[in-house]
């Protein structure tokens, strides 16, 4: 370039003109290059379909199944194919919004790796069979004439609710003592138990919109939560003028943390101590009434002076002071908890300590209210817990299970590696997997029943977290099945009930008929005063049945529990942070190219795994971004590229969950690593939940693996002072723009 007497500016100028010229000329590029004539077939209708105009979309309401939140969707259907999903504007759950996982629902549906036929293990390998053969194999194992022992049959599912849950209950009952394990890697079981003890309900309703300040211990409001779209919308309203203040305490930055006014990295496992310190400061320096708390707890709080808190948590005294000041001044506030505090070794106690702040600050009844209950307990959501997984692994290992059914879970992938679930499953003689895809668990199965996709199936769903208005969400097929030999979950359950010859179910030809009958049986007060047929049609059109909430008051008792801290381990000096992000979720979306391609919210990494390490720790260990490290716990190791980043607590390594599939189709397999495989066996003592954040690791540098290099969008995390995106502090914003 130097020889041509051309500088950068001139170069850009020339490029500009050249580019414009090329662009305009490009208008007349022959289109035959990509649109060859006579290559594509257009098949007309044999008979014109009534109401169908080719080229015009028709919208149908249904319910998203990409996570258990139960958002309402509108699917655009053209010529009998669903093309696009959007949020249902009238659904009280998501009010028109739909997250990237929901949007990507069409790629689950049209995924080229879908299972299309039932598979039965014959002589060691799975081979295709007809449904008649598949059901005959089932009949032999669990049919009415089989010698099945109910106590030795188990079901493992993810969150299940609605009428599928009714059918499943009926089946379990007919089997006499069959155990139902409900397992979700992403769950709020610890918080639910704290809530139960404090408020007498597992699911109170949170009102971010009424709060002036939110202190979140790892609750990812705009990412992974019990209801991602709902809480993201609440967050947006909370941040509208007058802008609420958000303080986020977490060991590695989430998107919520990135948006917080104050981001506080606390040493993993010590968040409970920080909560006690904040309580100490609120009582001593802001006149908060300690009598609201049990006297035993008061005594414990006294021990957490700020100097001690700083030593324990790594959070400087002045930061704790300013947190307490904000909370004291901005009432009502709201304290929320998420995975990083709940899923630690002392998760229950730490979560209880955080929740205690809500009592001390007088938030109960203001920003936390009763959910009002749900009138149909048989339809209510059964949400998963990790404790169920541990119990299942135990029973499987002991040989206490003869037949197991899996639906909506992939425990071989999501279970901590030390459980060695593969070996446990080996001891179960007959394993049945109801699945859309051949995943790690399905490949262990003896019988694989291919499911219809969520966009091809009927169902009702009761969201576990119901905001202002409760609903029974309606799922209806948006199109014909892509593969005729797949079946809906409800239909398969009905088939099994027929094999068991259970009275009351044998008359239904299919699940659709069962649902219509169930709708007719709903009490008249929920039917808007119309007849059954109109009620059914109204529900299909709107996408849900509204269930009025009862007004119920809420009272709280803070729990008198001692916060304990994790032990140190000199040989394994770092904490492993298995972050969970909206997108991959628990790994179930790793086979969706759109979500693989969507950059991670914080690191902008795509299509792989990485380890976030604080610059201080990186320089101590001699690591730079792009280096490869072995992350090693007592249970195993994984090798990942390093991403040096300030948004992570020093002395910890963050590796996101979701990648590292051995089997899950072409887009997921052999990509990245699964940090769950190296989890330590730590559990929360009170709830028995596996402590995802309770693993200690060490790292060592290894050779670069060219197949797994870190690929990121955007080259820099800093603007290097160029003000490409100008920012002002919240204080200045409030003074100039806020109320």
């Amino acid at each position: 370039m130097s020889g041509n007497d051309i500088n950068r500016r001139k170069f850009l100028k020339v490029m500009g003109w050249g580019g414009a010229g090329a662009a305009l000329a490009g208008c007349d590029m022959p289109t035959t290059v990509t649109l060859e004539e006579g290559k594509e077939t257009v098949v007309s209708y044999l008979m014109p379909e009534e109401y169908v105009i080719p080229g015009q979309g028709v919208y149908f309401a249904s319910t998203c199944q990409q996570c258990p939140a139960g958002c309402g969707v509108h699917g655009r259907v053209r010529e009998g194919r669903v093309l696009k999903l959007e949020g249902n504007a009238v659904s009280p759950i998501n009010e028109g919004g739909l997250c990237q996982m929901g949007q990507a629902g069409v790629q689950t549906h049209y995924n080229p790796d879908r299972l299309t036929k039932p598979l039965l293990r014959k002589g060691g390998s799975l081979s295709e069979v007809t449904w008649e053969e598949a059901l005959a194999a089932l009949d032999e194992k669990i049919g009415a004439n089989s010698s099945v022992e109910g106590g030795k049959v188990a079901w493992m599912t993810g969150t299940v609710s609605g009428h599928q849950s009714v059918l499943l209950e009926g089946l379990l009952e007919s089997l006499g003592g069959a155990k139902h394990y409900v397992y979700d890697l992403i769950n709020n079981h610890v918080a639910a138990q704290v809530n139960e003890a404090m408020y007498g309900t597992t699911r109170p309703t949170y009102h971010l919109t009424k709060a002036k300040a939110v202190l979140s211990f790892g609750a990812d409001l705009v990412g992974v939560s019990q209801s991602p779209v709902h809480f993201a919308a609440e967050y947006a309203k909370f941040r509208e003028a007058p802008r609420g203040v958000l303080i986020q305490v977490e060991p590695n930055m989430s998107l919520t943390g990135g948006n917080a006014d104050l981001w506080v990295p606390a040493k993993p496992g010590t968040e409970g101590a920080l909560a006690m310190g904040i309580a100490h400061e609120l009582i001593n320096n802001h006149g908060k009434d300690a009598s609201a708390l049990p006297s035993g707890l008061n005594g414990k709080i006294k021990a957490y002076d700020l100097a001690k808190v700083e030593t324990l948590t790594g959070v400087p005294t002045d930061k704790v002071k300013s947190i307490a000041k904000i909370l004291a001044e901005k009432a009502p506030s709201l304290i929320l908890t998420g995975a990083s505090i709940e899923s630690s070794e002392n998760g229950y106690a730490a979560t209880a300590a955080a929740a205690m702040l809500n009592v001390l600050l007088g938030n109960v009844g203001e920003t936390i209210t009763s959910s009002g209950g749900f009138p149909f307990p048989q339809l209510d959501a059964k949400t998963g817990s990790g404790a169920d997984l541990l119990q299942f692994a135990d029973a499987a290992g002991k040989g206490a299970i003869d037949v197991v059914f899996f639906h909506g879970v992939n425990p071989v992938f999501t279970a901590p590696g030390y459980l060695d679930l593969e070996a446990g499953l080996g001891k179960i003689p007959f394993k049945v997997s109801l699945s859309l895809f051949a995943d790690e668990t399905t490949n262990q199965a003896d019988l694989v029943l291919p499911l219809a996709s969520a966009l091809e199936d009927w169902g009702t769903h009761v969201p576990a977290y119901q905001p202002e208005q409760s609903v029974i969400a309606m799922q209806q097929p948006l199109m014909e099945k892509l593969y005729p030999a797949t079946k809906g979950f409800g239909d398969i359950l009905l088939d099994m009930l027929k094999l068991r010859k259970v009275e009351g179910y044998t008359d239904f030809s299919d699940y659709y008929a069962f649902l219509q009958d169930a709708f007719a049986a709903l009490p008249a007060e929920f039917k808007n005063g119309v007849d059954n047929a109109s009620f059914w049609n109204q529900t299909l059109a709107s996408g849900f049945i509204s269930i009025p909430k009862q007004n119920a008051s809420i009272t709280a008792n803070a729990l008198d529990i001692a916060v304990t801290l994790p032990g140190e381990n000199i040989n394994y000096g770092l904490s492993l942070l298995p972050a969970i992000r909206l997108g991959m979720w628990d790994g179930r979306h790793a086979n969706i190219p759109w979500l693989q391609e969507a950059p991670d919210q914080i690191t902008k990494a795509v299509w792989g795994s990485w380890a976030e390490i604080h610059p201080k720790t990186a320089s101590r260990l001699g690591l730079a971004t792009g280096d490869f490290i072995k992350v090693e716990s007592v249970k195993g190791d994984v090798e990942v590229p390093v991403y040096v980043y300030r948004g992570v607590f020093p002395d910890s390594v963050a590796v996101s969950v979701g990648q590292g599939h051995q089997a899950y189709g072409r887009y997921a397999e052999g990509r990245g690593v699964n940090p769950l495989t190296i989890l330590d066996s730590a559990t929360d003592g009170k709830t028995g939940e596996p402590a995802l954040y309770g693993t200690r690791v060490k790292v060592s540098k290894v050779a670069v693996n060219k197949d797994e290099i870190l690929v990121q969008f955007g080259g820099s995390e800093s603007q290097v002072g160029r003000k490409l995106a100008a920012t002002i502090t919240a204080e200045v914003f409030n003074r100039t723009e806020g109320a």
Partner: protein
Amino acid sequence: MNKYTYCLYNGKRPVSWVSAILLVLALVFSGAGLAEVPNAVPPEGEHKGDDVPQPIHFPHDTHAKINEINCMYCHTYARRSKVAGIPPTSKCMGCHSVIATDSDRIKKLTEYWEKNESPPWKKVHDVPDYVHFTHEKHMKRFLFDNEDMEVERVSEVCAFCHGEVKDMEVANKVKPLNMGFCQRCHEANGGPSDCWACHK
């Protein structure tokens, strides 16, 4: 000549003598272009399309020219939708269960019909997926909302983009249907020039 000079040449094409003579000859012999669609400037541009063999050699001329059937009788969705629509096979059979039933083509059509199948027609005209083209809007502008235009003359509007199909047997692509072609017509007829009018 690299690909850019080729493009530039195409963009500012001088009217060559050969094509001018051809154009004059075409006008003289066909008589087309004389009866003009009112309030419209037809788009400019030609394309030499491939011959596309179809499962049944469908004669457009027999239908549209000799028997004067309106284009929209078969392509019924043109006025209502993005796509003009290939007629349902039942529509073909509506006439051909009694008309010309002994011709080879109709025998073939009847075979399809009796098997409950539609002929697998090959697509001739297409635009890329990132282009939102709608027949409905164009029919409105040039036909239904065009004051001095009679619906019977619809084929002249179709001809803007599809050429004189009524003179063809199986349709060929004779217009380029690329962005320059669209844009010149939009400029001449006051169509939208926003990028996102078409690219959405």
